[in-house]
Every structure is written in C-alpha cells, then in structure tokens.
C-alpha cells in the first residue's frame, strides 16, 4: 500500500532544513524530512577519546572525499583549488562548524547598487532582521552588543566566549594598529541555555561538541521540531524530485532507504535544503519530459555561480604560551577591511576571524606542512617552539558570483546508491587573489604587532570550502534566477529552496546565521501565503 502524501517534504536536515521544519510546526501540517545521513550520538564524538585529533582526518574529517562514509556522496573536485567541506547527517555541516555566527551586513544585500558588481538581493537586512533575532534565540548565540561594524541590535542571549591568552594577544595587535576588532558572535553556550549545558572548553568544536554546548542544528531546531511532531527519516537519500508532466507541479521524491531499497514519497510541498552542492545535484538529477535540463532550470542557472569563501591563514608563533588546544576555536573578529575601499585594487572585502590554537598532532602536522618542523633530530626542538605557542587568524574573503564556477553532474562518479555525483569547476577570480594578497599582508602586519616572532601564511586554504553558495540564486527575474523573492521556484510553484544555493552574493562572513534567517523568512512567507501559495 502506498504511503499517503505528506503536506511538506523537506530534503536535508541541516541548518536550513531544521529551521524550516521548526518554523512550519505551527501550521499543523504533516511534515517529513528526509536526511541521507544519520543522527550522531554525542558520545561518539572524537573528544570523548584519546584519538580526538586523528579522527579529524578520518571519520570526522571535514572532507567527504576523505571520510568516505556510506552517508557521504563523493564530489569530483579536481577542477577546483578549494575543496568542499561538509557533513551529511542530522544537523548537517553545523555538526562540524566552529560556531562562528556573524550576520551579513546591510551593504551585503546591495552590492550592485553600492559597488557596481554582481547583483542586489531581492531582500534586505531590515526585512531579515526579525528572523536574525529569532534565529539567535533558537540557536543560542554568545556575543556582545555595541559592535561599531554593525547597525545597533539587541543584546545576545549570552555573554561572549573568553578571550583567553590567544584572543588577548590578537586583540592587542589589532589595538596597536588602531584596527577594529570585536568579540565574535558564536553559537556556543557560555551559560546553560535552552536545556543545553555550557561550554567546558573541549577545544574540539570542529569535530562535534560532545558537551552539546555548540548550537548545531541537531541540538537546537531539531530538538524542538521533533518534539513538535516533525517526522525525520535518516539514511534516506533522495535521488530525484518527481513531477506531474501535466501540471508542472512537484509530486514528491524518489529516495533510497538505509538498505538501498528504492522508495517514493508524495508531497504537496517540496522544500530543498541540501546545500549549495547537494541542491543543484538533486535538481540536475531530476530530469523529465517537462524539464529535460534539470528541474527549475529554465534560466539555465542551476549549478552556476558557485561561491566559496576563499580563506587566507595567518599563523603567529609566540614566545609565551597561549591557549593551545583548550577552548572554543573562535574568540574575536576584525572587520577593518570589510567594506569596499576605492584605494584598494579589489572590490568588497573580508573579515579576520581568530582561531585559538591546536593540539599536539595538529601542531606537528602544521609545522611539517610549512617546513617549520623538520624530520629528524630537529623535530623536538622545533615542535616545542610551536606547541601551545601558535594562534592564528583567517581571512574570510567575499567571493563574487561567476557563471563559470559551477556544479554539474559527473559523467562517471556515483554515490553508494548509484546516483550521479556532483562535479565542481571553480577558478579563483583576480579580485579574490588580490583580496587574499591584501589579507596576508595585513594579517602578517597584525600578527607582528601582536608580538609573534614568526608568521606563517597560506592562501587560499585548500580544505576550506565550508560555505557553498549561489547555485540556485534568488531574484525577481525568472531569466536571471532560480527562485523568487521568497524562495519559491520560478518554474515549479510548490518547490522551495532554502539553503545557501539561493544566496545572490556571499558577503565576507560565515553564512550560517544569514542562511538560517533566510530560511525562517521563507517559512514565514509560506505561512502568510498558505491560502494562495501556488498562485
């Protein structure tokens, strides 16, 4: 007997899918979310064992091509200098993020008007502001009001994470140069919040928080959504969205269950929340008589305009001990070079965000990678000069959309269910290269001012494709965008996209806060328009 159609089918249980699932609860609709990964047990996170550093290179690697779990899909990234970082499971990549939680700025939504590049967004900061606030409350954000780099806003739910020795050293460096810095907004509990315990400085945010203090979507939105009655089916990998060729409406999906058996699920509304790689992959795999080039692709833009954030790393080696492997990775950020400055040779800008320190194996691998720690007898002396004495900043550079940067389907590569895998083709733009060069030079200047006796730099960071944006962009013109101003596909009136794919531009900050605020906004629009949602 076939299953009854559900009201809302969400594909992906990551940051955006979780937010939408929770927001739509009050409609009392039947909501089912299909997630290709599983629900991770915090007791299994690496920080619960002595292999905590090594597991960052195996089952908790940020690279799906390195993890190679059954729940992952491979990605052909041979044609990209930046490799994808993600996590497939309940909570999505927030399970492995550091919790850095800045918002986009007002200017980020108006880059065409202000700087003559890319396109303006069809929504603005003011429209999203109440959803930013709601998202901060749901996620549990620690931070401090009063940042001169942002418009005035409400106090954060919790006070900021400690500066520690590393944050203090870097703050001193920024101050010496007269540059802006401010405690980072982070999705980390500095107090008991929403039934979750406070941070105990495990120093392992990027391999899952065993304490539950980090606001990953599995412990924030999903806790509430599941209690409210949303059904979450894990190990359920969607192959394609099905279409009624007569009406052009989505009818549901075909997916594979944990045993690899093909299943189908009908739905009145389909919401794609599978990130900037996974979403175009599903759309391009959803070919039909009506949509031979992939679903919702009349503009030809599905998969195009892929944006990462090119990252530069600037690491300082100090004489005095810092925090080492203890404490949340993030402490402060600087937006001194965030906005466009006509005197520079690039448009737009970047954020410096600090990264506290590393464990011993991480220190050794970093030192070996830079050639700072040699093989042989010099190892121990060089290691001791670095261990607990390194802290760093990363420049998160705004990436502008370019159609040749894109996600397509690989001709050969398939996942464990036989679904064609994505291939990414990406080239660093000249603007990004100049921005990275600027960030390395200014970052080195700051590290030296902070007292570092040696500075190591890298740009771009190869394994830092955390932020996957732009591949199903939003806009009011159906010929220049995939979804409209409130996330509905121009082509398929019961198909919504709510993840980073719909970003028009990338800004120069981590996207999760904005991504979830946007997802909440779209869910709110759906609720307000329920009576004529498909008109």
């Amino acid at each position: 007997m076939s299953e009854e159609p559900v009201d809302v089918l969400i594909i992906g249980a990551g940051a955006s899918g979780a937010a939408v699932a929770w927001s739509l609860l009050d409609t009392r609709m039947k909501i089912v979310c299909l997630e290709q990964g599983g629900a991770t047990n915090p007791a299994d996170y690496p920080s619960t064992g002595n292999e905590w550093e090594a597991r960052r290179s195996s089952d908790f690697s940020i690279s799906p091509n390195q993890r190679k779990l059954k729940t992952d899909y491979p990605i052909n990234e041979d044609d990209s200098p930046i490799k994808v970082a993600n996590f497939n499971g309940v909570g999505g990549s927030t399970v492995l993020y550091a919790g850095q939680f800045p918002r986009f700025h007002p200017s980020d939504f108006r880059v065409k008007s202000l700087d003559g590049v890319a396109d303006d967004w069809p929504v603005d900061y003011e429209t999203l502001e109440p959803f930013f606030e709601e998202n901060d409350r749901m996620t549990g954000v620690a931070g401090l009001a009063g940042d001169p780099a942002y418009p005035p806003r409400d106090a954060r739910p919790m006070p900021p994470v400690p500066l520690g020795k590393a944050g203090q050293a870097l703050a001193s460096g920024f101050n010496k140069l007269g540059w802006h810095w401010w405690p980072s907004d982070v999705a980390i509990n500095t107090e008991v919040y929403d039934g979750r315990d406070k941070c105990i400085n495990l120093g392992a945010c990027i391999s899952g928080c065993a304490q539950g203090a980090k606001g990953s979507a599995d412990v924030t939105y999903w806790s509430h959504a599941l209690r409210g009655g949303v059904e979450l089916r894990t190990h359920s990998r969607v192959r394609e969205i099905t279409i009624n060729d007569d009406t052009g409406m989505a009818t549901g999906v075909i997916y594979y269950d944990e045993d690899g058996a093909e299943q189908s699920l009908k739905a009145h509304i389909v919401v794609l929340a599978s990130n900037g790689i996974g979403t175009p992959r599903i759309l391009l795999n959803s070919k039909s008589k009506l949509f031979p080039d992939g679903l919702a692709n009349s503009s030809g833009l599905v998969g195009k305009n892929l944006m990462f954030h090119p990252y530069a790393a600037i690491q300082g080696i100090f004489d005095e001990p810092l925090d080492g492997y203890k404490g949340p990775h993030k402490a402060v950020q600087s937006q001194e070079f965030y906005e466009t400055d006509p005197s520079r040779d690039f448009v737009r800008g970047y954020t410096f965000e600090t990264s506290r320190g590393m464990g011993p194996a991480g220190t050794a691998m970093t030192g070996l990678g830079y050639g700072r720690i040699p093989w042989g007898q010099g190892h121990h002396k060089a290691f001791r000069e670095m261990f607990n004495r390194v802290t760093s900043i990363a420049a998160v550079c705004e990436d502008l959309p370019e159609e040749h940067n894109r996600v397509t389907l690989d001709d050969m590569l398939k996942d464990s269910d036989g679904i064609p895998a994505p291939k990414i083709s990406y080239t660093l733009s000249e603007n990004s290269r100049k921005m990275l060069d600027h960030a390395v030079a200014r970052g080195t200047e700051m590290m030296t001012a902070a007292g570092a006796r040696e500075v190591l730099t890298m740009a771009p960071i190869k394994f830092a494709g955390w932020h996957l944006m732009g591949t199903a962009r939003m806009g009011s013109d159906p010929t220049r965008s995939v979804v409209n101003e409130w996330g509905r596909s121009h082509d398929v009136k019961n198909l919504f996209i709510v993840d980073g794919s719909i970003f028009v531009t990338s800004a120069g900050v981590n996207p999760t806060s904005t991504l979830q605020a946007l997802a909440l906004y779209i869910a709110d629009q759906m609720k307000q328009r329920l009576a004529n949602l498909f008109d």
Partner: protein, 156 residues
C-alpha cells in the same frame, strides 16, 4: 584503537623500512627523555592507524625501497644513515602525498602516547567530559574599540 593492522600486507623488509622511516620523522630524544616513533608501542599504533590506508602505504614503502636501490643499489634498511636520509628526501619529493600521509599517521599516533603527553605536561585523558579551564583575558582592551564611531555602510 582498532585491532586491525597492515602487518600481514607488509613483508619483513617493508616493516623494517617503515620502522626506520617513522623514526626519521620523529626520532627518540635523550635530551627530552622521549621515545621515537619507532618505539614498539607507538609503532604498533601506527600500524593500526595505517590499516585503512594500506592501499597507499604498502606501495609507498616499496617505492621507498626502490628509490634506495636506484640510488645506492641496496635496500633502504641496508643504507648508511646519510644515505637513508638522501633516499627519504627523494621519496618525499617523488611521493609527496604518500609522505604526507605517513607523516600525519606518525605524529597522530606519537602525540597521543601517554609518555609523550606526560612529557609535554598534557593531561592524558580525553577532553570530554572534564574539559579545560580558560582564562577570560583582559576585556579592558575593548575600551578603545567601544569609543570608535559606527562605521558600517548603510545599504542606500
């Protein structure tokens, strides 16, 4: 720790070469009273950690031996120390990805050894559930920034 290892896939000669190689990456230190990565306990851990990578590691070790024979007409283990270093350098140049994997496995296992952690004044326990203390730092540093006028860019 996984009970698997790649011993069955390595010949005695391969194993001997691997022991020498990991000790070249992290040698013992009398000055610091530290074992090298060839310490039996640490090396056993390395073999276990290498198991999932056997398809890379086993040919890599054999490639090292081939490089040694090409350079000196002797197996890697039979070379003098200076010759081993030359062969290892050639190996790192010719097999960079494999050498980086061996480095990573070696230091990941070396720096989780309790003796090494004790030597570094580290806790030998995992981070969770006890966690660590972290000082607040000097928040007065922020006073200077608080005085700065708002500089965000309006959107119109």
């Amino acid at each position: 720790m996984s009970k698997l290892n790649i011993t069955s896939q390595l010949s005695d000669n391969d194993t001997r070469d691997l022991i020498i190689l990991v000790a070249m990456i992290v040698p013992p230190s009398k000055e610091h009273d530290l074992p090298g990565a060839d310490d039996p306990l640490i090396f056993t851990d390395i073999l276990a950690a290498a198991a999932p990578h056997s398809a890379t590691i086993v040919p890599a070790i054999q490639a090292l031996d081939t490089i040694a024979r090409d350079l000196q007409e002797k197996g890697f283990a039979e070379l003098a120390v200076e010759q081993q270093e030359a062969a290892a350098n050639a190996f790192r140049n010719l097999n960079a990805a494999e050498a980086e994997l061996l480095e990573a496995l070696t230091v990941q296992c070396y720096y989780r050894d309790e003796r090494v952690k004790n030597n570094l004044d580290m806790d030998t326990r995992p981070p969770f559930p006890v966690g660590f203390e972290l000082e607040q730092g000097d928040w007065s540093l922020l006073d200077k920034v608080r005085k700065r006028p708002a500089f965000y860019r309006p959107d119109s």
